[in-house]
Subunit: 268 residues, 2 copies
DNA sequence: CGCGAACTTGATATTTGTCAACTAAGGTGG
DNA sequence: CCACCTTAGTTGACAAATATCAAGTTCGCG
């Protein structure tokens, strides 16, 4: 039974304790080669999960959080509020994404991390991360890869905002979410749960809420998307990607490009 | 005689070979504590400088460069070209900035790095970087800080583009360049060399060239900037920063916030 | 001095924002 | 289960920001 991309059940908590379907592991397999021992270590990180209710911040600007947060289910986002009350969402954090891996170095958050929709996260003590980076070079490299892939995503968003019109920009964003959620087993071939509001989307794309609404209608009219009851369907993924000129290279999913291996048990 | 922010002479090549005025060192002092030994090592990186003529790329998309590049003089930029010919500049690389420190991990460039205006850079073999990160934890941490500060800048650009109107956005960009260039001794209190064209600026801010021209006139009329013969003057820095709502926190210049120390020889 | 690139200007079209009203949907207490 | 209430989504009219096009004009350089 395929999981259908709902991410509704905490499927990574395998009763046998084996490293299965953990979104962090699933993601890192795309950027680095891990051994079974690495996977066990990563699996152990995900023990202490915590439910974060909607509208609650995970970390706020100017804070110096003691723990690192890792999203396991649902979405969180990076955002900034401006003096005039405007909000810009700068990143979506999906299962397998770290929220604040960098704070130890930078000292202080320059933005907030929140979850207008609620999510499940694990809190990892900073000491655990320090230990990881000190003793496990393969894992360290994998985490570094994840950081740099985030940076690539940020650059693509900049291109998106600067050079693409609202309709293509929105389509591009949907394509990105589809791929990123597929990676971690939270989307099936053509749909995923997407509980955000049109206002959230507006603050993501840097356009007004009214305009979001109109562009959405246009995309729906063109048959490019269907979005209701908090689930986004993409009838023809190839067509949406073409419309958005979506090229996933910037996500740097190098290791198992064609879905070969690792997700399935290896045949020895 | 103050250097006046020209960066025109290769002042970091001190005839005595001592670590003076090297932009990389100057910058890293803001993010990490370095010992004299660290400074010597960093100084040694900067030996083999190379002049890169205008309009030439340093690295191109999809390349796997063997060397890491460090800007020593002038500007380079990260950019992407879209299928329709549009260009988005995603970052300016000023003296002391690394161009492609991340490529070894990610494997392949997801964007190009070029210098429409010419610059001087040093090429550092990847092996040297590997050695640095293996044996010099303080330097490694400093480089990591620089990477994360770049990421913070990227986020701020996203806010800039998404939520600020063109005039404030442009003013914000000028404020950022002033501060970043001051850090490395390439700007004085209120001006710096700025050889970019209005078209470059348009592709930076994500607006049309014509609009850039009109916004520039508006800023000039308000007495916020003066820009001629490739030099940008800011008559009243405080006023421009207020206009742009510029808060440099995102640059994470934590170590010598108030200009105390290190630039001058320590007294003891 | 002349040539090409960069800058400037005006007229006009398009995109996007704002405001205000209205409708639909979801959740809660009675 | 319904009435109510709040929030999210939708619509139309209009205003503002920004893009496009085409024609000058200036500047820098050989």
């Amino acid at each position: 039974m395929p999981r259908g991309g709902s991410c509704s059940a905490p499927f990574w908590c395998d009763p046998r304790g084996a490293a299965v379907s953990n979104p962090l592991i699933m993601k890192l397999e795309y950027g680095a080669r891990l051994t079974d021992a690495d996977r066990d270590i990563l699996q152990d990180l995900s023990s202490r999960t915590r439910r974060i209710p909607p509208h609650q911040d995970i970390t706020s600007e100017s804070e110096r959080p003691e723990n690192v947060h890792l999203v396991m289910e649902g979405f969180a986002c990076r955002y900034k509020l401006l003096p005039n009350g405007k909000r810009q969402i700068m990143a979506y954090l999906v299962p397998g994404d770290f929220c604040d891996l960098h704070v130890a170095i930078l000292g202080e958050m320059d933005h907030s991390i929140g979850t207008p929709w609620g999510c499940t996260a694990v809190e990892i003590p900073r000491a655990t991360i320090d230990d990881l980076t000190a003793h496990h070079p393969r894992i360290t490299r994998a985490l570094w890869w994840a950081t740099l892939a985030d940076e690539g995503t940020l650059r693509e968003w900049l291109v998106n905002m600067g050079q693409r019109e609202a309709d293509k920009q929105m389509a591009h964003f949907f394509c990105e979410m589809l791929v990123r959620l597929q990676i971690v087993g939270c989307a099936n071939a053509d749909s995923f749960n997407f509980p955000i509001s049109q206002t959230d989307l507006a603050d993501t794309l840097g356009i007004s809420g009214v305009h979001v609404n109109r562009v959405l209608q246009e995309l729906r009219a063109k048959g490019l998307i269907a979005w209701k009851s908090k689930r986004l369907h993409i009838p023809d993924v190839g067509r949406l990607k073409a419309f958005a000129e979506f090229d996933p290279k910037y996500l740097h999913l190098t290791m198992r490009e064609n879905g070969n291996s690792r997700a399935e048990p290896r045949l020895s």
